[in-house]
Symmetry: C2
Subunit: 322 residues, 2 copies
């Protein structure tokens, strides 16, 4: 594998960054400018780590001949991930059930690019992108200093920006595996999480809905109790987030949240579980602006990876991204 | 009210800081050095805000004549608190049921001291103190960058240091009001939280235990099911914390946690609710070092207030506390 091909591109041109959204189903790779303009993008299916990461690398090698060498690379990946720089396995997938990916090294295939690389979870990155460019901005258009992002789809995952940084600690948030109280009309369903059975993900992800109904949520009648059940579980999550992370906004994305009619009952159930305890307009009269859909649609992952790349460059220079 | 009395104290002497632990039952005031040495301390009962805050002010006015004018004041208070500097009610109590304290201004009585003042919740401050001086330190004695502190006593509250800063956002953590699943042997008890009934605080604080037993936890036989019930609810909290805030350590303090025999079953129930999902030694073989008692005993609140004072001074100088 070679380094970046030399090109005729003007060295004074606007900086270019490399971004990867590494999903369990598909990979998205892009070269982009710092303002979010995507210069070139590729999507392909996720296979084993070696083939998939090689395809990502080949994309960047080719795209760089057209747009110039990127300043840095950001990778927003499914997890769980080792994000601790001090750890021997930094940059690797942890115990994922995704075949072949356990212990896969996400960074090694890009090491010879010789540019700063930043890695984070897809949902932490999405929170970052939403805070800067999407639904996580304040009235003046600046980023809120704390934003939670939750995806409800094949899985349920969440990330957050707190104090302007993505949330990391012992590991990173794994919101899908908290245990909501069981809805009174849902006691017959055991849940489908292989680890926990009826944790939030096991009760409320897309496959759990299909397991109950035999069909997709969108095919359920508007009066079907599944809508209330789903909204209650996600409302419990939002209430728990408000009581623990205390974000200034919660962004709910992912395939299940494409059903916009879920937002109103989720907001109502969040208020039910909080019962007026948090004396904040945002979770009372202002809740329509507190629990919101993504502002970036399905681009929050790849744009989050772009923000990671920009942060990696800033850190390598010893500065910090504004 | 006058300013600080002029004294004969050497201006080159070690800096002195003022600290207040404002509790719902008692106030602790202290002058201290930056290393945690308490020069002088007073404890008194919490009455109405005017009397109580005046007594605190009088303590500092008198103590300063003996030890010199403090560089800054830190206040670690019961909540909920308005901590948003941009808010009109910054520094006031929010909707507290504590008679007379709703909307009380914690800062005004100290404004004429003309020194930097920092305010935070008692539990956020305790997390800060434990990270720097207590059970939240790493192997080398430095502060872990993320530590959660939970008090289980008359109420249940929690705070956290994340990325080296206390957690604030929409408000601040209100961990006591999450809803754990009901323990199978505890369905007969309705819970005592005036807002939520059977939220964590309503099920597991000291008064909830007394409401079930008719006596204190310490008088229950070691085989009484209350021990398992209490440990299960607190284990659910610890699991939820690990999945959301992802702290590197959880410190459990407060009156109920004086019963050290609770730690082992709490750790076991935390592992039960996580079911091996988080691939981290800290919550598996290393859990005895993950969920721990305070290293500072009952001094984490006042020492947290001292850290707040030191941070206020650093911020006023435009620097940041290491």
């Amino acid at each position: 594998m070679t380094g970046w091909t030399a090109t005729m591109i003007d060295a004074d041109a606007e900086p270019v960054y490399a971004a990867i959204e590494a999903g369990g189903t598909k990979f998205v790779c892009a070269l982009a400018h710092a303002d979010g303009t995507l210069l070139e993008r590729a999507r392909f299916s996720t296979r084993g780590p070696q083939d998939t990461l090689a395809e990502a690398r080949a994309f960047f090698d080719a795209a760089a001949t057209r747009h110039g060498k990127p300043r840095a690379l950001g990778i927003a990946s499914f997890g769980p991930l080792e994000l601790d720089h001090a750890a021997a396995r930094y940059g690797r997938l942890l115990r994922t059930p995704k075949p072949g990916w356990h212990d896969a090294d996400l960074l090694a295939p890009f090491a010879t690019l010789d540019i700063p690389i930043a890695l984070d979870t897809d949902v932490n990155a999405a929170a970052l992108a939403e805070a800067h460019w999407g639904a996580g901005r304040d009235r003046d258009g600046g980023p809120l200093d704390s934003v939670a992002y939750v995806t409800v789809g094949t899985g349920i995952g969440g990330g957050a920006v707190l104090h302007g940084r993505t949330l990391r600690g012992l590991l990173h948030p794994e919101l899908g595996h908290i245990h909501p109280r069981r809805h009174p009309h849902d006691h017959g369903f055991a849940g489908i999480c292989p680890h926990h059975g009826d944790c939030l993900e096991g009760l409320a992800n897309g496959p759990a809905i299909v397991a109950r109904l035999g069909h997709e949520l969108g095919d359920a009648a508007p009066t079907h109790p599944i809508w209330d059940i789903e909204a209650d579980y996600l409302g419990q999550l939002c209430a728990q987030l408000a009581l623990t992370l205390s974000p200034r906004r919660i962004v709910l994305g992912g395939g299940v949240m494409q059903h916009e009619r879920l937002f109103a009952p989720i907001r109502a159930r969040t208020q039910h579980w909080l019962s007026g305890y948090l004396a904040r307009r945002e979770v009372e009269a202002g809740i329509d602006d507190y629990i919101v859909p993504p502002g970036l649609g399905d681009r929050s992952g790849i744009l989050g990876a772009l923000r990671l790349a920009m942060a990696a460059e800033a850190q390598a220079k010893g500065s910090r991204l504004p």
